[in-house]
Symmetry: C2
Subunit: 367 residues, 2 copies
């Protein structure tokens, strides 16, 4: 698959949607890919099934608080250094790179790496959305070791982390990221094609592209972009999307702490409703409650969208007065198993509620 | 050189003296060496001049706050893992290990590594005393890169850090150490014999042994151990030792913060004097002031000793009511150059005073 510049814009928008508030500024990610392409790089996106079983895949990503990334823009070659450092440590060359998550800048970061190094990028990822922590990956859920991993900063300072425990990997890498200024670049969960086919969420770059394209088409054709989004999702493994709230942002509290952007947004309902919706986030949106009643919860997607254009709004982009619609989306069954929920379900984030699928929560839409 | 168990005890005591309050509990270090010897290991301490120019030396040490180490005792093989991890990363085997500092547990840690692996231990170090930070080494002062370095915890989790900047190495390694619980084990400043001969402080293991033995002999022969200490020092490159204060500990404030034990001790003068001595420390004692007048300052040694036995008291061992004598000792000229002072002089610790040699400060001893 090749990507045009228009495709890139669609992908960035779709990735921001799947990022559920996290993953950083998609615009910055798009600019980096564009720059790499204009410098003569080419993009080769390949299907997971076309990766040879014994070929080495080294996923690449940015790590840190999106609130930091907004003020500390990447140059574009940082994740290249992470991949090279890991190759050197492993004594093996990568056949391809791959996203670890599907969301914001981390959907485009591997494209930059691929374009700069002439490596194919695998159309799959390890989250099927964005999550804030490194062990919150289907790779981890299904037994892949995240280490050895490489982590670099913009000066080329590097740490290679080796652990038997992916939680410890996250803990140590987060410490290094904080000391690198709150944003760093990683290569982790290196694995062969056989393992990727078993553990990755397939075709999520395509999915991002499809979602972003759907929103653009609706706008161009003056159709309702929310209805279009719901229609697009119905054809994917994410299937069920629904609007859970509409209103105006009346409160945003946000702090960058322990390497994460944590906070709370409050949306006051428009029209007759006196309801307010509260959304808690840790980089990504985790739970939405309307007057203490559960409306949607992780790992289902909670996406805050501009109420006119359906443009996704990331957590660091939330501003007082924005008029928004909040959409919740079901994730594929593989992300709702007991194993998966123990890694990235509500309890993994310290939330009180147990997981309830959005399909069972959403028959009371408030506008 | 071979060490008897009595030698070990002397070395631990002398190393605690040179540690100037830092370097952790020397007793724990001694036990670890003893255990390694009883398990069949042998100790081979060699002179720097006997290391071939092209032989690889990998220094080993513990890193962290001594206040943590007291409660989180090492098992003894942690630094072995650091050395092995660095060997693996470098793709080269070590010919020998070496202390990075001369003080407390870090004088004995390389002995444990040597005894366990059958590697010689070089009789030299990179500080000529103890300092709290990794760039505060003569290796750094004279141009050796500290990285690649390896850092491990008691579970074998490992980070390899690579940087062009030894301050960044300290910054990142400290972050990892904090996340490893405040104490970790390192292998760093790997270098060939030629470089070690140019940059290391020679014969500091022998010096520690000599100091510890001097104190023991004085006790056995019912002589004044302080006079004996001063006499021993006169025969070494440290030359000038002097008692700067005598009194009772009346205040100790200490906190473990950002990976260091930082604090302040106050000694009230005994006898007629109404003076008090204030000592500030960051793992190691940094400055001693009597009623705001400078009495001794880093990098000269400031050693708090039991007023009867002259047993060195480490900063985490300071207790209200202890009767102590405080000795200051001149460091060798190589540690007082402008280059050296810029790395571990008063300004490197944020102190206001400029360096003044103890010889020029000490003609007003207060008892």
């Amino acid at each position: 698959m090749n990507l045009s510049l228009e495709d890139l814009e669609d992908l960035a928008r779709g990735a921001a949607f799947l990022g559920t508030g996290g993953g950083g500024d998609p615009y910055a990610g798009r600019l980096m890919v564009r720059q790499a392409l204009e410098a003569g790089g080419t993009l080769d996106i390949i299907d997971l099934q076309d990766v040879p079983d014994d070929a080495l895949i080294i996923p690449t990503a940015m790590m840190g608080a999106p609130t930091v990334l907004v003020e500390k823009l990447p140059r574009g070659d940082e994740a290249v250094k992470s991949l090279r450092a890991l190759e050197q440590h492993l004594g093996k060359k990568a056949f391809a790179t791959m996203p670890i998550e599907c969301g914001g800048i981390n959907s485009t970061m591997p494209l930059v790496v691929g374009a700069r190094l002439g490596l194919p990028v695998v159309d799959a990822d390890g989250m099927g959305r964005a999550f804030p922590e490194l062990q919150m990956e289907t790779f981890h859920v299904y037994g892949v070791s995240g280490t050895p991993m490489a982590i670099t900063n913009e000066y080329g300072d590097t740490a290679i982390i080796i652990s038997h425990d992916n939680h410890m990997m996250e803990w140590l890498a987060r410490g290094v990221t904080i000391r690198m200024g709150g944003a760093a670049y990683i290569a982790e969960y290196s694995m062969d094609g056989r393992t990727a086919k078993r553990t990755a969420v397939p075709r999520t770059l395509s999915l991002g592209l499809q979602i972003g394209r759907g929103i653009r088409h609706a706008r161009e054709q003056h159709k309702d972009p929310f209805e279009e989004l719901i229609a697009v999702l119905r054809e994917t493994p994410y299937q069920y999307g629904t609007l859970i709230f509409e209103g105006k942002l009346v409160d945003v509290w946000r702090e960058t702490t322990q390497g994460f952007a944590r906070g709370r947004a409050v949306v006051a309902g428009t029209g007759d409703s006196a309801e307010t919706l509260e959304i808690l986030f840790q980089n990504e949106n985790l739970v939405a409650r309307a007057n203490a009643e559960l409306k949607a919860i992780v790992p289902d997607l909670i996406c805050v969208l501009d109420s006119e254009s359906a443009e996704p709004i990331t957590t660091e982009g939330l501003r007082y007065g924005q008029r928004v619609k909040v959409m919740a989306v079901s994730v594929p069954p593989i992300m709702r198993t007991a194993e998966a929920l123990s890694v990235f379900g509500p309890q993994a984030f310290g939330l009180q509620e147990t997981f309830r699928p959005i399909e069972s929560l959403s028959n009371n839409v408030t506008r």
